[in-house]
């Protein structure tokens, strides 16, 4: 349905179109089909690749339908469209999670401060909301404007959800276009949510060297009353910090978190501690070290009430998304709730964050003295004893392990007093407890791991929020010329295929090659879990400014917005292209000129999927770890055989660049070694100048030689002129190129896809 006049006027009103900060571009608040041509242009080169996880469909009562091969469902859907439909469904889950988080955060802050509460991100950030500006055409000025952003997301989502119904969309390409839409909306929600909490809670925004905070379960002084918050929405966690401050209790109580609430809490108060990523939730909670467990929302393991009660800890749920069947107690007096918590071990849902904070702190103070005996982790002797029945032969544990770990060997050795193998299994364990459930001898494997887990503590830098405009001005030119070889974002969860420190290794390999390395969420936490010989983590070794060779923790999942935002700002601030309601112009600029790459090495939640899908629509390629294949869909070119035509912005002629850059938009790699060279390659851009390309090729060849061996056998695709061959490798590269019959390729300074497909954006718009 095309937009009617009334809707167009409504949009102009919402975005205050008459405010003249920039002319309104062609796509203010785009609907489901407004960016479809752009999506299809991407899909022409980067075909969807499907790996069905299930060959059936059981979404309606016409089914089950078998969709194997060329079979169709009763509704007519085929296996490709069904995969794309699932992708849309899962992306919508992710978008809804971030959107609802934003909605809750913004409404909570509007209740507190009013909707006119100003957005001020400090002296270093003038372009406050690059995503909202670009997608909606709105320059948000206050909390009320952020609510408009969430309302826009909600409005679009109802149409997207509708498209997943039986007998609706039937083309995989259109499902993908809709998934892109969901992903882009996700980014709008992320940005609105993070800006709201930055301004509402005074989180860091205009400083780069934020505090170094403690991470690791060993950092928690469990002798003190210990409160552990789990989830992704820090409203209640921050209320706990406020309560402790107001009652002068802050140094008497430990407040620590798992997942993003922990990260956001340390942005609010650097005295709070981070226990670790999602993969540590069960491990820590089963250890019983928490006196009170607090759940908010998203990626919270759903058997927490049971674990808390088994550990004799109190448990309070604080989000309407996760109620666990508990009584909502906001209307009860705090004393009464506390009495039931302490005397009857009753668990509650308390949606009033201030009341929840009071109950949680008082419960921790009361419980801690009685729980000292329970706060002991399993000793090796105890662990060997409870493992006594294992002979390592039945392997039921291994077969259940989604990370394919050799649990049988580890437990069998632990039984005999050797915990080395179990220690290494622990470092790869994603904490699902499937092994324990499967064990024929009921060995409490997660607990046994306590005896093998090192209690090291690490330093992580508190999330810094948006990238500063002045930083963008400094790095804009070298990024676009290619002399800073790339901007890499590590996001997503910690269900890594290999060790917990895979991300730290990848991040460091890139930072030392002068990439701009940014991290968020559980990936940012995992990146701290590796020390060099001097005991330093990468956060202590590399600069925190957004510049070549940095390691920057932007913050929690919602802070991912700032890295996409930085790419937009390069086009907007450095290249001075207007971004207002100009999605295609910004995305085309990023795809062709900003060497950015997202990495989701442990893609677990649907939120990670929507973030990644959104990134692709912005022109940012994404590299996934092997678990990512279970999302069923990737976007890949056929390398040199695909369509690499662009328009040369100067001559307006179509030019076949013959170079596959970026080569794929979403792919899975099996090992961290392969991921390293793939990330480097995904940062190549058509706009690279010859010196810039030489620097990128230097990284590519050096990393390839280091981890794979020999010269890459696709150099002929990426070397465009002899000037681009890195000097150190000149002789061997020239010999190789000669052998494969390489011919020089065109180097363009204004490559664009605008004009190669039907769009309202004129080619002139790409040139300033």
């Amino acid at each position: 349905m095309s937009k009617g006049k009334m809707r167009e006027e409504e949009i102009r009103r919402i975005i205050r179109a008459d405010d003249e900060w920039e002319p309104v571009g062609p796509t203010p608040m785009p609907n489901l089909t407004d960016l479809r041509n752009w999506d299809f242009r991407l899909l022409d080169t980067y075909e969807p690749f499907y790996a069905p996880f299930c060959d059936l469909c059981c979404l309606c009562t016409y089914g089950k339908c078998d969709l194997t091969g060329d079979k169709k469902g009763a509704c007519g859907i085929d296996i490709a469209a069904q995969q794309a439909r699932w992708i849309l469904i899962c992306s919508l889950m992710g978008t809804a999670a971030h959107g609802a988080h934003g909605r809750h955060m913004i409404e909570h802050l509007i209740e507190k401060f009013g909707e006119d509460f100003k957005i001020d991100l400090g002296s270093q950030v003038n372009v406050e909301a690059p995503i909202i500006r670009t997608v909606m055409g709105l320059k948000p000025e206050n909390l009320g404007d952020l609510r408009k952003a969430i309302e826009y997301v909600e409005r679009e989502m109802i149409h997207l959800v509708s498209a997943t119904h039986m007998g609706q969309e039937g083309s995989y390409r259109d499902f993908e276009s809709k998934a892109f839409h969901a992903g882009m909306l996700d980014h709008v929600a992320l940005e609105a949510a993070d800006i709201a909490q930055i301004v509402g809670y005074g989180l860091p925004t205009s400083i780069a060297d934020t505090a170094l905070v403690d991470l690791g379960w060993g950092a928690i002084d469990v002798k003190k009353p210990t409160i552990v918050v789990v989830g992704h929405n820090a409203v209640t966690a921050n209320a706990i910090v406020d309560y402790l401050r107001q009652h002068d209790l802050y140094d008497k109580v430990e407040v620590a978190g798992l997942c993003c609430t922990a990260l956001d809490m340390t942005r609010y108060d650097s005295g709070a501690k981070v226990i670790g990523p999602l993969s540590r939730q069960r491990f820590f909670l089963k250890a019983g070290l928490a006196d009170v467990v607090v759940t908010d929302e998203q990626c919270v393991v759903t058997d927490i009430p049971q674990m808390a009660s088994e550990a004799g800890a109190a448990m309070i749920a604080c989000s309407d998304k996760i109620c666990y069947g508990l009584q909502e107690a906001s209307a009860m007096a705090a004393d009464d709730i506390l009495k039931a918590v302490l005397e009857e071990q009753k668990q509650f849902l308390i949606l009033d964050s201030e009341k929840a904070a009071e109950v949680i702190v008082r419960a921790a103070l009361a419980l801690a003295p009685t729980r000292q005996e329970r706060k002991k982790i399993m000793t090796q002797e105890e662990a060997a004893l409870v493992s006594a029945k294992c002979r390592g032969t039945c392997e039921a544990c291994n077969r259940a392990c989604p990370n394919l770990l050799p649990v049988n060997v580890a437990i069998n050795q632990a039984r005999q007093g050797d915990f080395a193998k179990l220690g290494s299994v622990f470092l790869r364990c994603i904490g699902c407890a499937k092994c324990e459930e499967a064990c024929v001898n009921d060995i409490p494997i997660q607990k046994v791991m306590q005896a093998a887990a090192a209690s090291d503590t690490y330093k992580i830098r508190a999330g810094r929020g948006p990238i500063h405009d002045v930083e963008i001005r400094k790095v804009g030119s070298p990024i676009v010329l290619g002399t800073i070889p790339g901007v890499v974002l590590f996001a997503g969860c910690s269900n890594f295929p290999g060790d917990i420190d895979d991300v730290a290794w990848l991040a460091e390999e890139l930072a030392r090659r002068k990439y701009i390395v940014t991290l968020s969420g559980c990936a940012a936490m995992a990146a701290s879990m590796r020390k060099d010989e001097d005991g330093k983590t990468i956060y202590e070794k590399y600069i925190p400014e957004f510049d070549a060779g940095c390691i920057v923790n932007v913050g929690s999942c919602v802070s991912n917005a700032h890295v996409v935002g930085a790419a937009i700002k390069i086009a907007n601030i450095f290249a001075t292209l207007p971004n207002r309601a100009n999605f295609e112009l910004m995305a085309d600029y990023i795809l062709n000129r900003v060497g950015a790459c997202g990495v989701v090495w442990g893609p677990y939640s649907q939120k990670a999927l929507s973030i990644g899908t959104g990134a692709v629509r912005w022109g940012i390629p994404v590299v996934l770890g092997p678990h990512g294949s279970k999302y069923r869909r990737l976007f890949m070119s056929k390398k040199e055989a695909s369509d690499w035509n662009v328009i040369d912005g100067r001559t307006k002629q179509v030019v076949n660049t013959e170079e596959p850059t970026p080569e794929h938009m979403m792919l899975v790699t099996e090992t961290k070694e392969r991921a390293l060279v793939t990330i480097i390659k995904q940062c190549f851009r058509r706009n690279d100048t010859p010196p810039g390309r030489a620097i990128k090729l230097n990284s590519y060849i050096s990393a390839y030689k280091q981890v794979i061996g020999g010269l890459p056998d696709d150099l002929q695709n990426f070397v465009r002129t002899e000037k681009e061959i890195p000097i150190v490798y000149k002789r061997e590269v020239i010999a190789y190129l000669k052998e494969v019959g390489w011919k020089p390729k065109t180097v363009l300074s204004l490559p664009t896809l605008i004009g190669t497909y039907e769009t309202k954006v004129p080619i002139e718009a790409t040139i300033k």
């Binding site: 690749f49 499907y50 790996a51 069905p52 996880f53 299930c54 060959d55 059936l56 078998d66 194997t68 091969g69 060329d70 296996i79 490709a80 392997e395 291994n398 077969r399 259940a400 392990c401 989604p402 394919l404 499937k434 295929p497 092997p626 678990h627 294949s629 279970k630 069923r632 990737l634 890949m636 056929k638 390398k639 794929h664 792919l667 899975v668 790699t669 099996e670 090992t671 070694e673 392969r674 793939t678 981890v707 794979i708 061996g709 020999g710 890459p712 056998d713």
Partner: protein, 185 residues
């Protein structure tokens, strides 16, 4: 020649939710004869070939012998190329696992030696959950070829798969059986 319909693979994460499952190839003779019948096979080596000991050799040593017996071109995924070069063998392709699967879907693709589409693709050593996904892609989208997962964890989405072989010693015997049969066929 014993064969049966597959029931359960080693890893629960790979349990099939579907109707078309691999034919289980229990005997090395049968495996050798499938390989022998192919006119343009390809062998995909995954990262585990370089660090999985089988007897006193590595998995890659057996896989290389199978490849050598019929001059089967090799695609070295992940970082397998490094080890192959140490062993003095140059892979025909270094596409990563998902890349090679992407190309294999396309019947008009020239193949790694330019001889047209591969009619049989062997897989060994690819991380089991990832391999199962790639096999699923080929099952649905590449009707022009057959896949054979030479993996002791078993793969229901392949056309041909081994049974689960828990004991390393039996795995060694199976691999040696295939190699000696290929020598004999």
């Amino acid at each position: 020649m014993a064969s049966e319909f597959m029931t359960t693979p080693y890893y629960k994460v790979n349990i099939l939710t579907g109707t078309k499952a691999a034919k289980v190839v229990s005997e090395p003779t049968e495996a050798a004869s499938i390989i022998d019948k192919a006119t343009n096979p390809l062998y995909v080596f995954g990262a585990e070939v370089i660090d999985s000991p089988v007897g006193d050799r590595l998995l890659i040593d057996y896989a290389l012998e199978i490849a050598k017996s019929r001059d089967i071109p090799i695609c070295a995924t992940a970082h397998v190329k490094k080890k192959m070069m140490e062993l003095g063998v140059r892979p025909d392709s270094t596409y990563d696992i998902i890349e090679i699967v992407h190309f294999l879907k396309d019947k008009s693709w020239a193949g790694v030696r330019g001889k047209g589409f591969h009619d049989l693709v062997l897989f060994t050593g690819v991380r089991c959950d990832l391999a199962e996904r790639g096999l699923s892609t080929l099952k649905h989208f590449a009707p022009h070829l057959k896949t054979f997962a030479i993996c002791r964890r078993s793969h229901p989405n392949a056309d041909f798969a081994l049974p689960v072989i828990p004991k390393t010693e039996k795995w060694r015997v199976y691999l040696e059986g295939v190699i000696s049969e290929l020598g004999a066929v």
